[in-house]
Amino acid sequence: MKSFRLATMLAAGLLLAPGHSFAQELSGPQVVRTLGRLQGGAPGIDIALLMEEAAASAGKGVAALPDWQKLSKLSQLIVEIDFENDSIAIEPKSYRTVGMIADALHHPNLRRYKFLVVGHTSSTGDAKHNLDLSQKRANAITEALSTTFAIAPDRLFAIGVGEEWLVDPSNPQAADNRRVQLVNLGLVK
């Protein structure tokens, strides 16, 4: 079921592995376990800095930048959430994935943690437009999580990276590049 494709990537560098197939369906408990595997403290992530770097790098990529590299070392989950074309409206077929994230974030094992929602696009269209759209889509997901599912807003951060971090760089227009990355940023202060 494509709209419910969930994938996990825990090891650094996997994000860049071209053609690596990580599509698999996960159960709720697996999602909780995957996102809860914190090895030591999460390194300090400066979201404003990540945003600045993504904006400055539109069309040039961010995967190699050290601040963005830090993210790949954290517990995370990659999901596919489909949107209406050129819109922030989540397709109904992807509601389930948003609900599943909400189930996981409400579990006692994860209720102490804050999360970064990273929106990615393929490289179809203009890089600057993709960056803006991915930020708005990431915002839309955090809004759905915090309003419809009552996740505390101070646990959620949204950032769009547009087409700057392709999961399949050899095939930049591939649909696989459209994805949402959910990263555990560590304990809520």
Binding site: E84, I90, G99, H107, S146
Partner: protein, 140 residues
């Protein structure tokens, strides 16, 4: 087991029987919004194009188009909204409902996740408000 504990247990069961009468089982958020997507997906595409799930926009839109929305969707929207509220309420009540069991079986256990797994291992916690809260919260 002391008489006091048994009486307390009896009181909890009686309270649960009363409060449980009006309550249906909750379902996961994933299942709730899947049902919404299945039963209301075509109405959402038709009447709510460009609108999002957050901040009640889809709910408001479907309600404002109520005469044209399918009866199945209208009824699903109401039950899904209720189910999400009930599950959130059960999750919020966990600490209070399970306080006595935590003191009895899991004193010294630190962290909400660890407390939950300790309670889930203490089989007696299947009973009463605490067990019901865990079930309704979707944590067992």
């Amino acid at each position: 087991m002391s008489t006091r504990t048994r009486l307390l247990g009896g009181a909890l069961v009686a309270f649960l029987a009363l409060s449980g009468a009006a309550r249906a089982d909750t379902i996961s958020f994933a299942d709730a919004v899947s049902t919404l997507a299945n039963d209301c997906g075509s109405d959402i595409k038709k009447f709510c194009k460009g609108l999002n799930l957050g901040s009640g926009r889809i709910q408001n839109c479907l309600e404002s188009h109520a005469p044209k929305v399918s009866p199945t969707c209208t009824s699903t929207l109401a039950s899904v909204t209720t189910s999400i509220e009930q599950r959130l309420a059960a999750q919020s009540s966990f600490t209070a409902m399970c306080k006595h069991y935590v003191a009895q079986f899991c004193s010294g256990v630190v962290g909400e996740g660890n407390i939950l797994s300790c309670l889930n291992k203490a089989t007696r916690v299947n009973e009463g408000q605490c067990g019901q809260a865990i079930i309704d919260a979707g944590w067992r």
